[in-house]
Subunit: 255 residues, 2 copies
Amino acid sequence: MLSKNKIKYLNTLLAKKTRQKYKNFIAEGDKICTEILNSTTVVPLEIYATGAWMEKNETRLLTLKGICCEITESELKKISQLTTPNQVLIVASQPAFHLEPNEIDEELVLYLDGIQDPGNMGTILRNADWFGIRYVFCSDNCVDIFNPKVIQASMGAFLRVKTKEIDLKELISKNIPVYGAVLGGKNIFTESLSEKGIIVIGSEGNGIRAENLHLVNKPVMIPGATGGAESLNAAVATGIICALFKNYTDNLWTQ
Amino acid sequence: MLSKNKIKYLNTLLAKKTRQKYKNFIAEGDKICTEILNSTTVVPLEIYATGAWMEKNETRLLTLKGICCEITESELKKISQLTTPNQVLIVASQPAFHLEPNEIDEELVLYLDGIQDPGNMGTILRNADWFGIRYVFCSDNCVDIFNPKVIQASMGAFLRVKTKEIDLKELISKNIPVYGAVLGGKNIFTESLSEKGIIVIGSEGNGIRAENLHLVNKPVMIPGATGGAESLNAAVATGIICALFKNYTDNLWTQ
């Protein structure tokens, strides 16, 4: 049974401000919620699910009875953001991580400068996850990582990829290559790529902002056909870049 | 001034059935609508725009006065599907094209088997456009190419890329390579790629259906890291595949 106040509270979690206040977020659907329950990265705080889902996950929920709330399909509709609500909604704690000095010195990481679309943000996390990139950093004008649409589009990637809002200049240490997806950059297919460094991706409409662009020391671009589209979708461009880095550093090309 | 009947009619165009009946579709916003007016691919049938937009495009609209309807911002809201309606909405004719025998024999084309998400479909058209792939074919269970969300996500690519609903087996001629994105396929980074042929992309949830899978004679996959995401987003995977084909056939790798 879901009280009016509870419904109201759950709906306030759609706002970044409220999520930040409570340091939590909402995830929905059987697949992502099961992943959350199996993960050690985030702590489930509240579980709203249909009786059928509760029954199917009885063993998994044994120690979580105190935070479970059985609801009907029609109650789920009132709190769900999905077109087709799917059995369960979980409120979980935002994973926090403290970036240690030199922690990313041996890593290849992504830095997102102003990604606006939650679908793109989630898809970029999924790209990173697929290609084994363990860190995705964001500028303060990106869409919130814990936006419900980002969580859904990431398909669980937020449980494995570490994310943090930070200024690009704080990330950069001496001699680190800073790649950036820039119109007019060097052809990424012929450029030598590094197995560590930062790859900067700009926003959908405006690319990388001037203050970050001057930190990029290796501008690259994905060559296209002439007379076609003006640009690639930001998540697609990121996917192509990640694929090329991953396979370049795996030395597959030189086999 | 917009009559109630007109609003009702425009809203019926959100249904594929109605669009097919009238062989038309809706596009919105300054950028795409301007591209439509500059294009020879589609014929604008009805133009609904604010006075300011009409004025800005006066020269372009000179010969189109008979199909122009000036509306207010609040009227635009009633017919727009965008979160932020943007000055203009155009109803245009669906571009039709008759596929000639042997027309694609020397082409590299995409075949989409059951792509469901309109955002993915539009983004795939945009990928094709960027990489100079001139034909995108679809199975009958794909989302409609003329769905407004596809049109918006394609960023005008539907004006340059030829699309058609067709069975895969009708497309295939003798000795043509039929690549397919398949889990367990060969590493696309090390496989030799052709400059002509068909690339089959499966649906978001289920991949390529059995009846089409047995037509694929070159299964390929994009290698990922272990322990990460289960899959890539369909539009991202298509983007990576297109990028690799395009650059392989451009011989950039061997330079």
